[in-house]
């Protein structure tokens, strides 16, 4: 089984739908421990990215990922723009000239995206950021031959929920110190939505390549 341009398009469309549905929720989470713009920014950026790719033709996954990355960098703002933008740009390098990704290319692309997030955000596991979802999810992808949709959703959800008990070390929530405990990290929640919609792009909801 292979993951192709059509599935990637479906993913971004579903991701945008989820972000729009959760715009107020993400903003509320961010108002609790950040500066209250995460939902607004993500909704603005994903809407642009979804429109852009819906109206474009792509011969390869790399150019699709690059367009999404560039759009997020230019339209999201805040910290999420450079972070998600960098993730898509790094993945686009791995997917360059590929019409479809087999399991290894798929995992390599998401692994490169994680490296990009770490490079840009300088956060570690446990800092109460999106890395707390991305790092274990990518490790799990690497160690599983078959990437099952339901397992991907469950794992990213569990890791997102785990950020509630963490004390923030990076981002604006870090100013709260201990007071950040008891709140979900908004970036971890948007990352969960990213993986949940990715799972929905797998054919027949079964598994990735």
């Amino acid at each position: 089984m292979l993951w192709d341009v059509e599935q990637a398009k479906k993913w971004i469309k579903r991701l945008n739908d989820k972000i729009q549905e959760n715009k107020a929720y993400l903003t509320e989470l961010d108002q609790a421990i950040g500066d209250g713009d995460h939902g607004l920014n993500m909704a603005r950026g994903l809407q642009e990215a979804a429109s852009k790719i819906a109206n474009s033709h792509y011969d390869d996954l790399g150019s699709l990922f690059k367009d999404v990355g560039m759009t997020l960098i230019a339209k999201v703002g805040g910290a999420s723009g450079p972070l998600y933008g960098t993730a898509f740009m790094k993945a686009s390098l791995v997917l360059k000239d590929r019409k479809e990704a087999d399991r290894n290319a798929f995992v390599a692309a998401f692994s490169a995206a994680l490296d990009g997030l770490k490079m840009r955000g300088k956060a570690q596991v446990g800092d109460k950021t999106m890395i707390d979802v991305w790092d274990p999810v990518i490790a799990w992808m690497k160690s599983h031959e078959t990437i099952r949709a339901n397992e991907l959703v469950d794992l990213s959800k569990e890791k997102m929920e785990d950020t509630k008990e963490l004390e923030a070390k990076k981002g604006r929530a870090a100013y709260l110190g201990r007071r950040s405990v008891g709140h979900l990290d908004p970036g971890a929640v948007s990352s969960y939505l990213l993986f949940a919609s990715l799972a929905e792009s797998f054919e027949k909801g079964e598994s990735a390549p």
Partner: protein, 331 residues
């Protein structure tokens, strides 16, 4: 939400359009961007100085664009960092070939977006230097966390770096004096009421009728503690004590003082705060070179204030006194 706006998603665009109409003698807007630059940019033979960040802090930052201060201001959405493409456009527009200094307030988003823009500009062969302002003593400083925020003290960095750049100094010299300013400036704020980001439609946090937050950041980030309302003298004392603990001053040292309103604080109250600040400094025999009272770095319609102290040496005081002609800061 009751605001003088047309559309919550158009506030930055509408504001910049009005600003250009009002001040077309001083600044212009780069087409298709939210970048405001000096009307005469790029100024030949001069290092370009750029600042920026989220909007909602007016007059910061576009109010400081002009002779003797900034060459460009990059205006993000309300409380949201501008994007790298916008910052890059500003760098390209103000670079005269002598390089560009980016003055960045220490927030995760601003840091990432300005760094990405700097990388892009360097790839195009433009020399770029960065200085990060982190004057807010309400936040614990640590290499393991995001570190201190940049607040009203940033305006002193604009003024001093801008003044040296105007004299024709090199990029390295302008960067060095900006860093020296950052090392010598400390601030702390407090809030009486929250503020509402137009697109969010409701206040970013809550404060009870008699509650205040000491150490509040300029986007409503929490400070040191929520406490009950106290007298202006007590509040001035708390803020100044925190600043002085972090910026050791000796007798006869010279400082500039900024009493900054956050958007909805009457000038009357800012002067009442300064009465106590000046009294404490006089008791400590610290000489006030100049005092700035007014709105320099606001937080939409938040009520409250911040106090900034800049320790001056001969170079810094000369540059602070140098000529500047911007909308919000004139010398």
């Amino acid at each position: 939400m009751k605001k003088l706006i047309n559309d919550p998603n158009q506030v930055v665009d509408d504001m910049l359009a009005g600003m250009v109409e009002a001040h077309s003698d001083k600044l212009k807007r780069l087409p298709d961007t939210n970048v405001m630059i000096r009307k005469d940019a790029p100024v030949s033979g001069k290092v370009g100085v750029i600042s920026g960040g989220g909007s909602g802090h007016e007059p910061a930052h576009a109010g400081y664009v002009g002779k003797g201060m900034l060459d460009g201001a990059v205006c993000g959405e309300v409380f949201t960092s501008p994007t790298p493409d916008q910052i890059l456009a500003a760098i390209q527009a103000v670079d005269s070939g002598k390089g560009v200094l980016l003055i960045i307030k220490n927030y995760t988003g601003d840091m990432m977006n300005f760094e990405m823009a700097a990388e892009m500009a360097e790839a195009e062969g433009i020399q770029v230097a960065k200085v990060v302002v982190n004057d807010d003593v309400a936040v614990e400083d640590s290499t393991y966390t995001t570190g201190r925020r940049g607040i009203a003290g940033t305006v002193f960095v604009h003024k001093i770096a801008g003044a040296l750049a105007e004299q024709g100094a090199t990029l390295a010299e302008v960067e060095a004096v900006a860093k020296k300013t950052v090392e010598n400036v400390r601030s702390m704020g407090m809030a009486l009421t929250p503020c509402t980001v137009p697109a969010a439609g409701k206040p970013g946090f809550e404060l009870g009728e008699n509650e205040i937050e000491i150490g509040m950041g300029i986007h409503g980030e929490p400070g040191i503690e929520k406490t009950s309302i106290q007298s202006a003298d007590e509040i001035a004392q708390i803020l100044l004590n925190n600043i002085l603990e972090d910026l050791p001053l000796k007798e006869h040292d010279k400082v500039a003082v900024m009493i900054n309103g956050l958007g909805a604080t009457p000038l009357m109250e800012l002067y009442i705060i300064h009465k106590k600040v000046s009294e404490i400094l006089r008791e400590k025999r610290i000489h006030i070179h100049e005092t700035f009272v007014g709105e320099f770095m606001t937080s939409l319609e938040m009520a409250g204030c911040s106090i900034s102290l800049l320790k001056l040496d001969d170079q810094l005081s000369e540059l602070l006194d140098a000529q500047a002609d911007t909308i919000a800061f004139k010398k």
